[in-house]
Amino acid sequence: MSKTHVSTTINGDPVEFLADPGMTLLDALRDELELTGSKEGCGSGDCGACSVILDGRLVCSCLVLAPEAEGRRVETIEGLANGSRLHPLQQKFLEHAALQCGFCTPGLLMASKALLDANPDPTETEVRYWLAGNLCRCTGYDKIIRAVMDAAAELRQERV
């Protein structure tokens, strides 16, 4: 069995890599491309720690095969900040202490970004349901929800 050659776009940059056909996109990101921001919590699509945005859709990268990325656009946590300038979501997570161990944080940030890209003014209920697939065992979620609501407000301000 030979490896599959994959050409894709990650955080705006063209990227090529070789993958075993059964390799997940998460493993390709972490082990082939050294983009270790996306985490593996469960490997079964339950925890959301591996969340990335694939062609504009939030997905668990553990439930995507690496060869599926051929010709697609992948956004990962590594592309969220603009150089040394944090994305408002990252800044608000810090300000609200919306993380402790940090393992779930990349996934929560990417999931929150996907939400705010689609819906700049979500209700708290909408945020809570949207993030139901991202598990955090430290914070109790409340600070995360507040950080997302605050970041949404700031992003709306930036738009006007």
């Binding site: 059964g22 699509g45 439930l63 095969l65 060869p67 139901a132």
Partner: protein, 288 residues
């Protein structure tokens, strides 16, 4: 794992050829298959990804109904306004599956062919009288959704066959559907029981056609004709609802497991059928 190969055909014919190989498995969204793969519960030699087949992702309107490609995710379905308006029950059932992330991948065809008795979208598709376009080495055939699952994890598909499309029929005026499931929390869980009701009313609000699907109360999702028949000719009065409840319960043959006892599932199936009927009736324009 070491033998695994990945193919992404771009036509149904190519997919049929690829699936003709020993140990080939089709993949739509992959949200079940990749979990099973990782757990070692399935050991395919070839994964045939259906997403690159032309038309596999998307919804088209045809002959008054809807044709949904096998690899169309729940997120895409939920954004299709005309589809949501015509079949709110089918779409709410599909959108109940998993998280936002899972909705970005999971499909109706995959939910069906995974053949879980508790699959949320399947009772709703059955109540909708949806059909599947199945393609394989023998050509193309169209079968009702309820003909696909034969037992938990088992389907009637022959080797090399796969579901290419799901078809939802044309919608008359004053028609709607609803799906409800019971889970012990609000999100991210598997149904203890589920019920879907699809109704057509006349101008006076009398039910002229009714179909009921039940999930997680038998080895496969069920079409319960007696439950539908119980509503026809009524305006969903209490007597009709009681007949529906009784017919739904009579059809149940559930197991007892950690999610619920057989008795509980049976009782809940009747309750959910009543409530789903009330929602579908109201959506169809009947005075509740």
């Amino acid at each position: 794992m070491s033998q695994l190969d990945y193919l992404a055909p771009v036509t149904p014919e190519e997919a049929v050829r690829a699936l003709g190989a020993a140990g080939a498995r089709p993949m739509a969204g992959g949200t079940d298959l990749l979990v099973q793969l990782r757990a070692g519960r399935t050991r395919p030699d070839v994964i045939v990804d259906l997403k690159r087949i032309a038309g596999a992702i998307g919804v088209r309107q045809e002959a008054g109904g809807f044709v949904i490609g096998a690899a169309t995710s729940g997120a895409v379905l939920g954004e299709h306004e005309a589809l949501v308006k015509a079949w709110p029950g089918v779409i709410e059932a599909a959108n109940l599956i998993g998280s936002t992330q899972v909705q970005g991948r999971a499909t109706l065809a995959g939910n069906l062919c995974n053949a879980s008795p508790a699959a949320d979208s399947v009772p709703a598709m059955i109540a909708a009288r949806a059909t599947c376009v199945v393609v394989g080495p023998g050509g193309r055939r169209e079968v009702p959704v309820e003909a696909i699952c034969t037992a938990p994890g088992k389907t009637s598909l022959s080797p090399g066959e796969f579901v290419l499309e799901i078809k939802l029929p044309p919608r008359p005026a004053r028609a709607s559907d609803a799906y409800l499931r019971l889970i012990p929390r609000t999100e991210m869980d598997i149904a203890v029981a589920g019920a879907a009701v699809n109704l057509v009313l006349d101008a006076q609000g009398v039910i002229t056609e009714a179909h009921v699907g039940l999930g997680a109360v038998a080895p496969t999702a069920l079409l319960v004709p007696e439950a539908g028949q119980a509503l026809v000719g009524s305006k969903l009065d209490e007597a009709a609802l009681a007949r529906l409840d009784a017919a739904a319960r009579a059809a149940c043959r559930p197991i007892s497991d950690k999610r619920g006892t057989a008795e509980y599932r049976t009782k809940i199936a009747g309750v959910l059928a009543r409530r789903a009927a009330a929602i579908a009736y109201k959506r169809a324009g009947g005075a509740a």
